[in-house]
Structure formats: C-alpha cells, structure tokens
C-alpha cells in the first residue's frame, strides 16, 4: 500500500459568487493509495460528494492541486478529463443509472467497448454474482441487482479507482450488504482503490481508512487495524 493514486493539497471548491457563494471544500489535503478501501463519512453538505466528483473528473476544483498519478486534474482539459474517466475511473451512484434499453450484459459492454484493456462483460458480471442475469433488462432486475450491474459496469474496464456515491443508499440492509460484498471482492481481486461515500457509519468497518468531512474540512482520519467482512455488517 505504497503507491499514491490521488494526492490533493489545499483543495477548495466554491459554488456561486459574492454573498451567495457556497464553500463546499475549504482546503482539503488528502492522499489515496492503490488497493485501499476508503470510506468517506459526513453529514449532508459536508463536501464529501464534491470531493468525490473532483477526484472522478466530473467537476473541477476552484483552488489547490489534485493529481491522479502524473495527471493534474485541476489543469486538465475537458477532453483529458473525458479520457481520464474512460480509462481509469469507475463510478457507482445511488440511483444505478443503468441504461434501460440495454440488457445487464450490454450495460457492461457500454463501458468495455471504449476501454483500452477491459475484462469480458460476463467476467465482470460473474464478479458481482450476476452471470446468470446477463440477458435481463434493468426493468427485470431488483434494485440490488441493478446496483451490482452498475458495479460490474464500473469495474469492467479494470479502473485504478472505483468511486461510489452512496451505493447502498436506495437499498435495504440485506441487499446493501450484497452490494458491499461485491465491492470488497472487486477490491480484493483487482486491487482497485475504492472510495465509498456514505452517511452510514456502520459501513466504515469494511474500510482500511475512514475519513470524516465536516463543513468542507477533513475533521478526522481513522485507520482500521483490520477490515471487517461486509457480510457481518448491518444497519
């Protein structure tokens, strides 16, 4: 756990201007290492989603620096950010954002078709235990299954980092655990650095590190000596 994947220094993000300005990030310093699982905790509006979006190349910072390996994400052009998302980042959102007109397998293929070194879509589905559901359309899958397809889609390109924004937010505890198991398995087998945003402190036990944000600052960084198996989690 030595290679640094992300490194941010003095990261700020301001939405709007003047009196209406909202400071989402007020100077965040953070590193993320290859292969680790980080859980970002924090209340609504603490800045965790903003941080995730900047790391994922979906948003740009107002100040400070943030690097993904050698790439300067603050200075990167729109085109470079697209390229970066395409090749290196996997996303999982609270609302699965699957494409309704494509089957589970095809939803994964959407990502593999444009990735430089993808795995086979079936292999990705197998990693989330959905190999038998590949021909089903999203409308024919449960919420948990849809989220696992979203994970398969995110990891099928073998990304260096997997960014998950409230991946279990729309799911019940039992289904959520299966999703977390899938994330843990991907991390274990592919060594993908994984960041999970949640407001659910119960999930923190499965992480290597737990970072808490409040009001745009990092208020606490805690290292777990041992990662808990998601199967044992509940909330």
């Amino acid at each position: 756990m030595t290679e640094t994947v992300f490194e941010a220094r003095g990261l700020t993000k301001v939405y709007g201007e003047g009196e209406l300005a909202v400071h989402a990030l007020r100077g965040v310093d953070i590193e993320l290492y290859a292969g680790e699982i980080v859980v970002l905790l924090g209340a609504s509006g603490s800045g965790k989603s903003t941080l995730l979006n900047i790391l994922g190349g979906l948003d740009t910072a107002s100040g400070g620096t943030v690097r993904y390996r050698a790439l300067d994400l603050v200075a990167a052009s729109e085109r470079q950010l697209t390229r970066y998302r395409r090749d290196h980042v996997g996303f999982v959102f609270q609302f699965y954002n699957l494409i309704a007109s494509l089957t589970a397998r095809e939803n994964v293929a959407v990502a593999t078709e444009i990735a430089p070194d993808p795995m086979d879509p079936d292999e990705a589905l197998a990693m989330v235990d959905l190999q038998s559901r590949g021909h089903h359309f999203p409308a024919e899958l449960s919420g948990g299954e849809q989220q696992r397809v979203a994970i398969a889609r995110a990891i099928s390109k073998r990304p260096a980092v997997l960014l998950c924004d409230e991946p279990t937010g729309a799911l019940d505890s039992k289904t959520g655990v299966r999703v977390l198991e899938a994330l843990a398995r991907v991390n274990r087998e592919l060594g993908t650095a994984t960041v999970i945003i949640t407001h659910n402190a119960g999930i923190a036990a499965m992480a290597d590190r737990v970072i808490t944000l409040s009001d745009g600052h990092i208020s606490e960084v805690r290292c777990n000596t041992e990662r808990a198996d998601p199967a044992g989690l509940s909330w």
Partner: protein
C-alpha cells in the same frame, strides 16, 4: 390573486420557451396561411360585391352586330327585366407615343347625358367625356398606369378603319372590366390592351350606329329565372347577328374573378388542415412529455385532494396559452400577409378600392379550432397520468421495460455497438412515438414539396404553352372574315417568314345540360405554328373530321372521344351542328376547341373564309413587321407570344408563385418546429442515459451520435415518406385548383425533392446544433444524483 398553480404555469412556460415557441410557430404557420386566404377571400368577395352593387353591374349581356333602338323597348318589356340599357361598342387599334408594340382595345359608349344606369364607371381622375366633342375618351386605369397617361394626354386610334386623335379626359374603372383581358386571351396585358369609353353620339357616328346599338346590358328582377330570360333574349335578337345572350357566369371578368375566389377558398381549407394536423401531433408529443415529467407533481396534487378536473384545467391552461400564442402570431402574420397579397391583387383586379376585411366569424372559428386541436393533443397524455394511483405515481418511475426487438434479431449477424442498440430499441419500444416523429418529418417534407413543386410545374406549364403549343410569334386578327388571299398578302411583308390562316368562331358547345362558351378554331392540317399536344406533350394531329377539346373541357362537358357535341353558332343565326369529339388535348393554360379548317368552313357554310393569321417572323425585323401590319386596313389586332409570356409572369405567375413561396417558407418553419421538438424531447428523455455515458468516459461527440443518429434514422424514413405524401397532396391540390384559367401540371423534379429534403435537413441540423450544445453543457452530477 394568481394561484400557485398559475405561478407554476408561468414558470413552466418560461422553462419550456424553446419548445413553446417552436409549437407556436407551427400553429402560427397554419393559422397564418388560413388567415391570409380568409382575408384575401373575404376582402375580394366583399370588394367585388360592394363594387357590383354600387356600380350596378348587369346580370345579363347580349352582343350583336346591329339592332335598331326600338328593340330596347321590347327587351324592357320582357318578364324578369328590371333595367336594360343599350350601348355601342367596337374594337379599335391604338398607338401610344413611345410604345412601338401594337395596342388593341375596345371602346364602349356612355350615355350622352348623365351616368349609365348599368355598368357605371368609377372615375379615378378627370371627368366624363362630352357628347358634343368627338374626340374625348375616358381610359381604363390599368392601361393609363401602364403608359402613365393622364387627363389631357392624347392617343392615336383607328376606329372602324378611320384614324383619329383621341384626348384623354378621365381615368376610370368598371365592374365589367375588373379583370382586363384581350379577347381570345386568358391573361391580362395592360400595356397592349385598353378599354376606352366615349360618349354615345360621337361613337355611334364613328361606327355608323346612329339609331342603333350592338350591346345590351340587363339587370334582372329578384326571383327572375336567368335561363328563361337568356332564351327570350336569344329569340329577340336572332337575326341581328347576336353572339348569344349570357349571364354573369359567362362574363369574362366575372368568371375569372370567381375562379380566383374559388381557388382562395380551396387554399384556405387545404393548407391549414395540413398545418393543424402537424400542430396537434406536436402538442400531443410535447404535452405528453411534460405530463410524464410531472407525474409526481400530479400525484401530490391529487393526494392533497385536487380533482382530475382541476389538474386537467391546469394543463389545459398551459396548452391554451401555447396555442393562443401561436394563433395570435398566425392571425397577425396572416392578416399582414393578406394585406400584402391584397396589394398584389389590386394590381391586376381593377377595383376602385380594395376593401380590407378580417372576417370575424371564420377568425373566431380558427381560434376555437386551434385551441381545441391543442386540447385534443393534451387529452391522451392527461388521461394516462390520471389512471395512475397517486401512491404509485409518487414513487420513482420504474425503468421502462425493454425487450429484444425483431429488428435486432433480423440484424443478428451484424455487430451493433451499444449506442446503436439503444437507438434501435428506443425506436422499436415506442412504435407509436416513432411513427409520429416520422409522420411529423414526413408532413413537414410534404408541405415543402407542396410549396416547391409548383415552381417547376409553372415552368412546365409555360414551356408547354409557349414553346410546344403556340409556336407562332404573332397572331393577327383580321377586321372581317377574309379569303385565304389575306395570308398571301401578309406573308409578302418583309420579315414575315410564314403565315398560316385560321378561323376562330364563337360557339357554345352543348352536351345534355352542360354547355361552355368557347372560340372554335379551325387550323390548317399542315400547321407548323400552332400545335395541339397530348398528355405526353407530343403533337396531336388535327382530325379530318370532328373536334379536339382541351381535357378540361372534356370533363366540363362530360364527354369522351367518340361522343357527339352540339355546336351552337353564336353568330345570331341560331343554327346548330352536331360534331363528333375526336380527342382530347393537354393545354395547361385556357380551354379551347379545334378542328380542321376546311371542316369548320364546311360546317359554317360560308365558303373558304378565315379571320386570323398565325405568323412567324425574323426577330430582327420585329418592329418593321409590326409597323407594316398596323398599316394594313385588314388587320384588327396583333398579339405577340412574347407579350403573353411576359403578361403571364407579371400577373398570374407572380401571384401564384408568391403564394407558393409563402407556403414553402411556412413549410420550413413547420419542419423546424417538428424536428426541434423531436430532438428536445429525445434529449429530455435521454438526459440521464446520456449523462451516464458521459460519466463512463464517452466523449460528447459519441453521445451526440446517439441523438443525431436517431434523428437521421427518422429522417431517412420520414423524408421519402414525405415525398410520397407531398405527391398525393399535390395531386389533390391540382385537382382542387384546376380552373379554365390554368391547370397546374403534376411534375416532380429532383429539384423539388432535393429542395424539400434540404429544408428538412437544414432544420434538423439547426435542431442538432441545439442538441449538441445541450449535451456539451449537460450537468453530469446534477442529472445522475437526482432521481428522475
């Protein structure tokens, strides 16, 4: 106080402004065409009616060679006659300083004292002619304007073979010359044809008509039966060289004016119907989409106890505002266009003044139909929303159910990218929506086709008439029927290359209860200058026996080749002949009847007489030829093919093509409205998926591809379909618009097809640019983090 729902309404209108405007433009386009035609129609109609009334336009007319004054009393005594007035009229030739072309005309008498009791003239300038002076005339406005004549100017004229100088004392219009056309022509020619009025005494003296007359005007008592009166008049004037009594329906000016009005009415019905259909379609799609995005809002409103009716009213308001905006644009635009068109009509329909009428009831009907059309469109979407129980509607919308499509199975061998699959499945999942998008594009294409095909058709019409049918350079009318020697005399003129004799005889063709007044023309069998053509535009040989009729006339008389028609000779003899119809000809302009000259002469039984010459000339010697012709006493009038061509483009062609241009333009607006909305809806529905793809690392251009390729597919089907629909509509239009004045030929050139496709593709590109800009500014985070 404005309710919260109304606030919501205003905000939504602002939010949807692009689509609102696009729909309003489509609705406005339809309404504008409708209003333009309605305004033209009712303005012309009212102008005509009020003009006829105020200037005592006659109901029946008889022209004859010469009748004694006492016959007028007998006319007045006929049952059903309210008023009758006799007058003298004759043809004349004119020379206008600075204008070398031959000018022909007609001079009509005015009573020596006071105003005429029928067919009063409207003096634009100057005064009526003095009966004590032999040289004073009033000139019709069209001719005065063409030559910039004013009271005090003079004209040289040959009346009844005598040369004299006339002094213009007034400029006038008359209800019998609203549409001023030279005899035998179908087109006005203001430069080369004049109507003059002179006091009766000097005109009778100049034409040897003292104590006699050669024209009678009659107004009928209310309730009188026209046909009965016409029969009586024919009986009375038999033996006086009468060409047959006729009613307004056969009066040239009235007849053409009526044809024009009929066409305007057709336009006022057909185009708006098409435009409105497209508008309903758009409203349906857009409102459907709007309601779908608001299903949770509707559910919450219903949960709070709002009734279906209240929610419906809210959306009905939204739709009504959009429709009313479109209708307002359409009414204002249509009235403006109608006013502009009325200015053009005023140039060739000679009215003292053009009344401008916006008909209130039809306008109200347009407004009501427009709003109802919109509400119909919204109805479907609302009833779908109401069927959903509130609890279910408030939850997240389940992902739409897709399945593997038959088309995919058909394309199983081909590797499809995932975006391509998305396109195919979305098209196939909602076949009705796809069908409607395709229909919208097709209808837009069809409207442009309908607007533009006529340009080529008019050109074909002109080409056929002036280079296939009429190949003579000039037509010379002779003062009186002559022998064939006249042709030999004319062909000796320097510059005349060939002269062919013909005979034009006014007749009424009858078949059962149908009849038609027409000039029956006898042509030499070997004519090289005047041809008839068939439906393929090949020359048709003149039959040895029998008569060739324009197809239009075959239909009007309901006869077929081989049938017999009765020819009533309108020469006062009252004689009739039975002639077999030997075939039909395709003439696009005017109607006619032709037969072999010797056959016509035989039927007439007056020997080998002729009264017209078709000549071809050396173009370099045109003015010499004209001068020589005018110097010949046997020449009554000369008309030139070139002048007719000019006249066509100046009058009919111009109005027609302007109308057509306006329609094409509106077609373009519709095309844009349809496609813009299709793209916007697709964009709105796909926003989430497109954002997902962007997050996955798809480039903006790759995402655009999904939207644009779908549009391209829709157009690939829609445009050819539009060509087909356009063709069918064109056939309908041509059928509805055919008149004796002209028939538009059906012609589809690559240009029409190309132009319509170009308009649609340009609209698509424009809409595409909007879509591409939207995709570029798609807020990925916002889209993905919110539940739809």
């Amino acid at each position: 106080m404005i309710s919260v729902l109304d606030h919501k309404l205003l905000r939504e209108l602002r939010h949807l402004r692009g689509q609102v405007l696009a729909i309003a433009l489509v609705v406005g386009g339809g309404v504008a065409v409708c209003m333009m035609s309605l305004v033209n129609y009712s303005s012309l109609n009212d102008t005509r009616d009020s003009y006829y009334r105020s200037h005592m336009f006659a109901d029946a007319f008889v022209d004859m060679t010469r009748a004694p004054q006492r016959l007028l009393d007998e006319v007045r005594a006929l049952q059903g006659v309210a008023r009758a007035e006799a007058r003298v009229q004759t043809s004349l030739q004119l020379q206008v300083g600075g204008f070398d072309d031959p000018v022909s005309g007609r001079v009509v008498s005015l009573p020596d004292e006071g105003e005429p009791r029928l067919n009063r003239i409207f003096l634009r300038a100057g005064r009526l002619p003095d009966s004590r002076r032999s040289n004073e005339v009033v000139v019709i406005g069209s001719f005065a304007e063409a030559h910039d004549l004013r009271p005090g100017d003079s004209l040289e004229a040959i009346i009844n073979g005598r040369w004299q100088v006339l002094r213009v004392v007034g400029i006038a219009e008359s209800p019998e010359f609203v549409y001023v056309i030279p005899p035998g022509s179908m087109l006005p020619d203001y430069h080369r044809y004049a109507i003059l009025w002179m006091a009766e005494r000097p005109l009778a003296a100049a034409t040897d008509m003292v104590g006699a007359f050669n024209s009678v005007l009659i107004s009928m008592e209310p309730g009188a039966v026209e046909q009965h009166l016409l029969d009586e008049l024919d009986r009375l004037f038999r033996g006086f060289g009468s060409t047959g009594a006729y009613g307004r329906e056969d009066q040239f000016s009235h007849r053409f004016l009526s044809e024009e009005l009929k066409q305007l009415r057709t336009m006022a019905m057909l185009f708006p119907a098409i435009f409105m259909t497209v508008a309903i379609f758009l409203i349906n799609v857009v409102i459907g989409r709007l309601v779908a995005t608001q299903r949770d809002v509707i559910a919450i409103l219903k949960a709070f106890g709002y009734s279906n009716l209240q929610v419906s009213l809210h959306f009905a308001k939204l739709v009504s505002v959009i429709m009313l905006l479109g209708i307002f644009l359409g009414v204002v635009g249509g009235v403006w266009l109608g006013d502009a068109m009325a200015g053009m009509y005023a140039e060739y329909f000679r009215f003292p003044e053009m009344l401008f009428r916006v008909p209130p009831l039809p306008t109200l009907a347009v407004v009501v139909v427009g709003v109802l059309a919109g509400l119909t469109g919204a109805h479907g979407a609302l009833s779908r929303a109401f069927r959903l129980p509130p609890a279910q509607a408030m939850g997240p919308e389940p992902p739409p159910a897709y399945r593997h499509t038959p088309m995919e199975r058909a394309l199983a061998g081909i590797h499809l990218s995932q975006p391509s699959r998305m396109i195919l499945r979305s098209l196939e999942r909602r076949p009705l929506r796809t069908l409607m998008s395709v229909s919208g594009i097709a209808l837009a294409t069809a409207i442009v086709v309908l607007g533009t095909f006529q340009f080529d058709s008019v050109n074909l019409m002109v080409h056929t008439q002036f280079s296939r049918v009429q190949q003579e350079d000039m037509t010379v009318s002779l003062v009186n029927p002559r022998s064939h020697r006249a042709a030999r005399e004319v062909v000796r003129i320097d510059g005349v290359r060939a002269a062919e004799a013909s005979l034009a005889v006014p007749v009424r063709l009858r078949s059962a209860h149908r009849s038609w007044r027409v000039a029956l023309v006898g042509l030499t069998a070997a004519s090289q200058l005047s041809h008839r053509v068939d439906t393929e535009l090949n020359h048709v040989a003149l039959p040895g026996e029998g008569v060739l009729l324009t197809e239009f006339l075959l239909q009007a008389l309901a006869v077929n080749p081989g049938d017999l028609v009765t020819v009533e000779w309108l020469d006062g003899s009252g004689e009739r002949s039975e002639v077999v119809v030997s075939g039909g000809t395709r003439e696009f302009i005017g109607v006619g009847a032709w037969m072999a000259l010797p056959e016509l002469q035989r039927l007439r039984g007056r020997g080998a007489e002729i009264n017209q010459l078709q000549i071809s000339i050396d173009p370099d010697r045109r003015s010499d030829v004209l001068e020589a012709l005018q110097a010949r006493p046997l020449v009554a009038a000369v008309s030139e093919r070139r002048a007719m061509l000019d006249a066509f483009y100046e009058t009919l062609g111009r109005t027609f093509l302007t109308f057509t241009f306006v329609n094409s333009l509106l077609g373009g607006v519709i095309a844009f409205g349809v496609i813009y909305n299709t793209v916007r809806i697709s964009l709105a529905e796909r926003g989430r998926e497109l954002a997902s793809l962007r997050v996955l690392g798809y480039r903006a251009a790759e995402v655009d591809h999904i939207l644009l390729a779908e549009l391209a597919l829709l157009m690939l089907v829609g445009i050819p379909l539009g060509w087909l629909i356009g063709q069918q509509l064109a056939i309908l239009l041509i059928w509805l618009m055919q008149s004796e004045l002209y028939r538009i030929p059906l012609l589809f050139t690559e240009r029409t097809l190309g132009l319509s496709a170009t308009v649609v593709v340009l609209s698509a590109l424009l809409s595409g640019v909007v879509a591409v800009r939207r995709v570029a500014t798609l807020d990925l985070i916002e889209v993905l983090k919110t539940r739809e």
